[in-house]
């Protein structure tokens, strides 16, 4: 069964159609790739799924329920988490606090208890700390817990974004260009990392990526966008052989040069 389904999703900004009539589904437990040239509407689709933008037309379903009009925080509560293409960490906070903010959702206590700092709050706070350090450890960030988020090198900032998203205990994880700005070695390592957390945390993953080696390595299923409309859809093999995809995105020489 599809964990996420988009049905004829359309988004217009004034006269510009950012994406038109997009329909696809992601089966539970898969890693699916969303690729296409810059400006094709990939991130727009992420923003529509996560409630940052509202749809012009169409419907989105998550585990069978209509989530079209929900707020981002409500979608998080249902089990959707994401990272951002242009890293959006809480830059002035520590690495640990970035993850703690996400973990907080799992260990709620009342406002009154917080103001009086009751013993129950203290024990919850200890649990928050413990969980947050576990997520940092899972992403290899333990040594940087006390550092300011914006002091991390770029690659680690991306990992911190992933740690933060995982701390929300999502069922569906949306990764927006996690390998951007990485060299082939780093992106290969990242691909291994994504595969590991995908299995370890029982996720379904939707991935936007320009590094084709990462996409082809990870994704069982690929959806190709161009100018806001669907260009192709299928497994890695089919998509790589599709002449439209080669012309619009991968480039005619892709087969020989790449794989």
């Amino acid at each position: 069964m599809d964990i996420l389904r988009l049905e004829a999703v359309t988004k217009r900004f004034g006269g510009i159609v950012a994406c038109k009539d997009i329909s696809f589904g992601i089966p539970e437990g898969r890693i699916m790739g969303l690729i296409g040239p810059n400006g094709a509407g990939k991130t727009t689709i992420f923003n529509l799924i996560t409630g940052v933008y509202s749809l012009t037309a169409g419907r989105i379903y998550f585990r069978g329920a209509d989530i079209t009009r929900l707020r981002p925080d409500e979608l998080v509560a249902l089990g959707i988490a994401r990272t951002f293409q242009n890293i959006r960490l809480f830059r002035n906070l520590t690495v640990l606090d970035n993850v703690r903010i996400a973990v907080d959702r799992n260990l709620p206590y009342s406002f009154g208890a917080a103001l009086a700092r009751l013993p129950s709050v203290l024990s919850k706070e200890r649990a928050v700390y413990r969980q947050a350090t576990e997520y940092l450890a899972a992403l290899g960030l333990s040594g940087r817990a006390g550092d300011r988020a914006d002091s991390l090198p770029y690659g680690l900032q991306r990992k911190l974004e992933i740690a933060r998203a995982l701390a929300l205990k999502p069922k569906l994880l949306l990764l927006d260009e996690p390998a951007a700005g990485m060299n082939p070695e780093e992106s290969a390592e990242l691909a291994r990392l994504i595969r590991r957390i995908h299995g370890e945390f029982g996720l379904t993953t939707l991935l936007i990526e320009h590094h084709m080696d990462v996409v082809m390595e990870l994704c069982e299923q690929i959806y190709v966008l161009n100018f806001g409309v669907k260009l192709a859809e299928g497994d890695a093999e089919t998509v790589q052989g599709n002449p439209d995809v080669l012309r619009a995105y991968l480039g005619e020489g892709y087969k020989r040069a790449g794989n």
Binding site: T50, G51, V52, R71, P72, D73, V76, A77, A81, R82, F84, R88, L89, F90, R91, N92, L93, D97, R100, I101, A102, D104, R105, L107, P108, Y109, F111, A114, L115, A116, R117, V121, E125, V128, R164, L168
Partner: protein
């Protein structure tokens, strides 16, 4: 002389309470309010009317003042925060709110209009003000070190990312507004029972600006910073009273100097603590010997 000094301290503490409340809203949650004097006024009038006309117990009146301000905070916060006004538009909305409250106070029967309320019992002593200040500082610190405080900071830092962390923007902003409104109301109640006479012209946008200036100069994201800044801003004009008109110039210059030389505020994100003060002092002695 002693009573003069204790008077200034009491006065400072009253403003510290209001400034700490605003620090939660502006410093930690990242929304500017230019109408916080209204909450101060609502607390002052509610508490003042209760003790003056109805002989209500002072502490009960004080709590009622805080509660009334909190309630008004919900009323003004609900539509403005629900509409997700951008922060500058929100600030202008609060400006209008502040003026509206003042005009209302000038025209209501129960507040006796511009004549004000003379002869409110003088219940606010230095120990009372100090006790309330300690409680408010403690509660504010607990707020900041809880999930609610972290959510507020997340909203300030990047509200899109905060929402994606499952944080309900509206809820966090409203909670923090109501908290700061209650602090403002309690401070107002203390004020009314300290000066014994209140009138609407005491609660103009000048007071709002002063509170915001304390928070910005003290450090956005600090509780003790705005508290220290408030004391300085109250104390300096008093110390400089001998210089008559020049004291206001000095006050202005101080504000400009802080913004130029420490744009992050006196304490920035940090808090004042004994350990911090000690470290700073030893650092001063061992000048230049490594970093602390």
């Amino acid at each position: 002389m002693l009573s003069y000094i204790s008077g200034i301290i009491t006065f400072s503490l009253i403003y510290v309470i209001a400034a700490v409340g605003l620090a939660i809203f502006t410093g930690f949650t990242g929304l500017f309010s230019l109408g916080h004097a209204a909450f101060f006024a609502i607390g002052a009038y509610t508490a003042g009317i209760l003790t003056y006309f109805y002989d209500v117990n002072f502490w009960l009146a004080l709590a009622s003042g805080g509660a009334m301000s909190g309630l008004v905070g919900i009323l003004i916060g609900y539509p403005t925060l629900k509409a997700k006004l951008r922060s500058d538009y929100f600030a202008i909305a609060t400006l209008g709110f502040g003026e509206a409250v003042r005009v209302l106070l000038e025209n209501l029967e129960i507040t006796q209009g511009a004549r004000g309320l003379p002869g409110i019992p003088a219940e606010t002593t230095l120990p009372v003000a100090a006790g309330v200040t300690v409680i408010v500082l403690w509660v504010a610190r607990n707020f900041v070190h809880s999930r609610y405080g972290r959510a507020a900071v997340a909203v300030r830092e990047d509200f899109v990312a905060a929402e994606m962390m499952g944080i309900n923007l509206f809820q966090v902003r409203l909670l923090s507004l109501v908290f700061s409104a209650i602090c403002g109301g309690v401070a107002g109640g203390l004020f009314a029972h300290y000066v014994s006479f209140i009138q609407p012209s005491m609660f103009t946008s000048y007071l709002s600006t002063q509170l915001t200036a304390s928070v910005v100069a003290g450090g956005m994201g600090s509780i003790t910073g705005p508290a220290v800044a408030t004391v300085i801003f109250i104390a300096i004009p008093e110390v400089l009273r001998v210089a008559s008109m020049w004291r206001l110039v000095a006050y202005g210059l101080l504000l400009v100097a802080i913004m130029v030389f420490r744009p992050q505020g006196l304490l920035g994100f940090r808090e004042l603590s004994w350990a911090g003060v000690k470290r700073w002092l030893t650092l001063g002695k061992a000048a230049g010997q490594g970093r602390g």
